[in-house]
Amino acid sequence: MRAMVDLGNEPRVLGEKASPVVRGGWLAAGVGLVAALALGALSGQGWRGFFFAYLHAWAFFASIALGALFFVMLQHLTNAGWSVVVRRLAEAMASTLPLLALLFVPIAVGLGELYHWSHADAVAADPLLQWKSGYLNTPFFLIRCALYLGVWVWLARFFVGRSLAQDTSGDVAHTLAMRRRAAPAMFLFAFTVTFAAFDLLMSLDPHWYSTMLGVYYFAGAAVGFFASLILFSYLVQRAGFLRRAITREHYHDLGKLLFAFTVFWAYISFSQFMLMWYANIPEETLFYLHRQEHGWGWAGLALVFGHFLLPFLALLSRGPKRRKGALAVAAGWLLIMHWLDLYWFVIPVQSEHATLNWASLALAVGLAGALMASMLHRVRATSLVPERDPRLMESLTFENA
């Protein structure tokens, strides 16, 4: 068993050290956004490319924040002890949800470019869209999105706020309240994430449907989140914080979860693909057919190998999960793969041929910068661990038996 870490000597408040990163983040946000807007303005085909890139980038970063919210709620639901030292970092990631809600505005603006079903003439010419118009219409879509965002922001504020409040009061009532609310919160989470995936992603191709899509988006979100949390912990430690609090035991567990969700993602995406391929029903296979042609097949193959087979082999054994450098490399790789997964989902609707949408790259930088800056700005005055969580001791001395 490990001796206890004396948290008193552990640097755990970012303070002024965060300022350069915050400034850099805002700078990246500005540069990325301006570059993306310039690319949109200069492209010959209007703003369509920009909005698709924006939706992709938003869905990517939202998935990470949602994964973080899921993780935080799950830790309370299961009364987990091991994870307390990394939970504040996850809370910080989940607390980007209000900014993400604000960043949703461009999607609402670009609705006409993004969603075929939002055009009255398209609906008039298409009996299927007429059938769905009770659900797929602009006002109802916006109301639903507002509802999802509202629920997420509300949940994030509750779980992050209570955790921060406990830092000062040390009151266990906060822990009990979070534990009590975690289960119903999971219900809200499951349904809002599912329908958000249906609305934002599935309805890009309004003829296509898959009952699995909510689970698919969630599986990717979990991979993206665990990869981000590992990277975040790694970088925070590189900067000199929590160096003894977060140990290889915690990385080991995070690595296991990253591995598990990588396999889960593969299971879900393979099942979805296999069932559609096997049944070969036109309105379903169209989705995959399009993503196998015009070069998109390469992206799909890259996912098979890069999102599953390679990381599966890399993370299978104990060693790489316990070496934070190696684990951080795998996490970075999987984060890129999760980005590619959503790219492969969203961008083929906009572009028949496989291309690199440069605006996507610019927006990845831009949104990453903005979210990082706002996140670090938020947490810089607070401790990076839940200081007075009653399970902190358990987490600090945690060992993989």
């Binding site: 009952t211 296999m274 009653p390 399970r391």
Partner: protein, 485 residues
Amino acid sequence: MSAIPLDLDNTLERPGERAPLVLGKSDLASITEQVCEIAERPRPSREWWLAFGTSASLTFVLFAMLGYLFWTGLGVWGINQPVAWGFAIINFVFWVGIGHAGTLISAILFLFRQKWRTSINRFAEAMTIFAVICAGLFPAIHVGRPWFEYWLAPLPNQMQMWPNFRSPLLWDVFAVSTYFTVSLMFWYMGMVPDLATLRDRARSKIRQIAYGIAALGWRGSGRHWHRYERAYLLLAALATPLVLSVHSVVSFDFAVSQLPGWHATIFPPYFVAGAIFSGFAMVLTLLIPVRHIFRLESLITPRHLDNMAKIILATGSMVGYSYIIEFFIAWYSGNPYESFTFLNRALGPYAWSYWIMFTCNAIIPQLLWFKRLRQTPGLLLVISIFVNIGMWFERFVIVVTSLSRDFLPSSWGVYWPTWVDLLTFLGSFGLFFTLFLLFLRFLPIVAMAEVKSVVPAAGLELGPHRGHGQYWGEIPHQHDEENER
């Protein structure tokens, strides 16, 4: 040794502390005594004989029905066109689903460091194996001519005939047999130290020899334990994907088709959640009476029941989620056949079965939000039986409603089971309970060696060892030094 009061409410877990998982006089010797005593009674109770007699008679009915089936042919069943899959496939999916709790508890909960599983894993694993035996029976007899069963295996042969490798029905053969093999291995390997305990305590020659052979020469040396723990971890890791794969492949049997109500991409995870749901329900159905009869309340505490009830609530909600999503997408797809199928399920000739399913699976388990209910074993038993019923009807709904009314109204039909169908199904319960009663009679029904690793006597409270599910903080009321051994 210390004793934690039996009436301590260990479902309450104050933040920062871990509740004890074993109550009462929980030193190592008394655990051995308590568990071994059940298998060492000189003769079983009258109730055991009564139960055994009933289930053995039902097993006899099963074999009589099989004989009749083989002699006469599949015409004795209710299956026909268009419903060519009837009770046999429903029962297969039902039983194989029940067979999911054991591996989940022994593999996945092990990897998640849920130490409370130690009190119930042996029990659940045994139940898994018996359920998979019952499950395997049904497809085997459904092929019609069971003497050609070996055609399912890809055996090189003169006729150059091979099974269709693209068929999920063949994948099933591999998935279920792999699952059975691994579950059996896991169960047996985990039992070796306990079998050795029974061997060492045996008084008669026959028992010494029988348990001696089964214990494989286990002596409990440090090296034995070291290798045992390693093997256990590896088997747990290997069994974990099996928990998902078996019922996923079973769901493929349906979902690869184009039939509305069968072809849904959510089927694999939905089936897995349903399997765990039904498996845990069956564990509770069996465990609550057994716990009461054999006075195992100190080992299988209110916390264990509470946790199992929560897993039933969680997986039941996943099943409910799938029902809702399927319904929504059936409408959203705009596919008239999809919409029809789901409306037909809810309002058509088999609507009663749909509403039994929906009530038992999606509504009744929601009562488990109430803590008082989770802690009343009698009510929990009732709910778990409802879940068993509901999950059987789920498979009935899937198989029968979709087949009986598909694309062409001219080819619609109705399905009703015959008395042979019903008696065969009843007989499978006989087989299940016969095996289960034999297990209760002769084997250690609680994993003694594993439970001993989570009791205070294991010395965990002496140092700040904070592995998950172990003690952290003060253990309430355990300081009676005078009982120290």
